[in-house]
Symmetry: C2
Subunit: 78 residues, 2 copies
């Protein structure tokens, strides 16, 4: 009855934010990250603009390319 | 040169293990979880057997249905 539901950031939004933050902190462009993860450069942009629903394995490829854990890409931060 | 690469559990395997552990700890069957997450019952089984590469939004639906955070489904545990 009472609104117990907490407004949560969507998984897609978390990924977008963390991906961009980690990528830029490493000084890597979207194009470079695409090369490293063997994903199309434009796909990185789509993810950072919340415009794609990526598969688990693509998220894993991004984590590997950035040398972080997949959980770091999906964590709530700040 | 040296094998700095640590053997890591795949994201798909983490998901399978955490999904089953959390689901069974809540006493929920695959079929019930399918109903809760509006995913097909057989799909839950496929995920727990590492036979699918789910989308981020399907993982999010499972997390919501189990009342856990998406990170709990992808964490390294134990």
């Amino acid at each position: 009855m009472s609104g117990r539901k907490v407004q949560r950031e969507s998984a897609r939004s978390r990924l977008a934010r963390n991906l961009r933050a980690i990528r830029t902190s490493q000084g890597i462009s979207q194009e470079e990250l695409g090369d490293l993860a063997q994903l199309h450069r434009t796909y990185i942009g789509f993810l950072e603009r919340l415009e794609r629903n990526p598969s688990l394995e693509n998220i894993e490829r991004l984590a590997d390319a950035l040398n972080v854990d997949i959980v770091d890409l999906l964590a709530v931060t700040r």
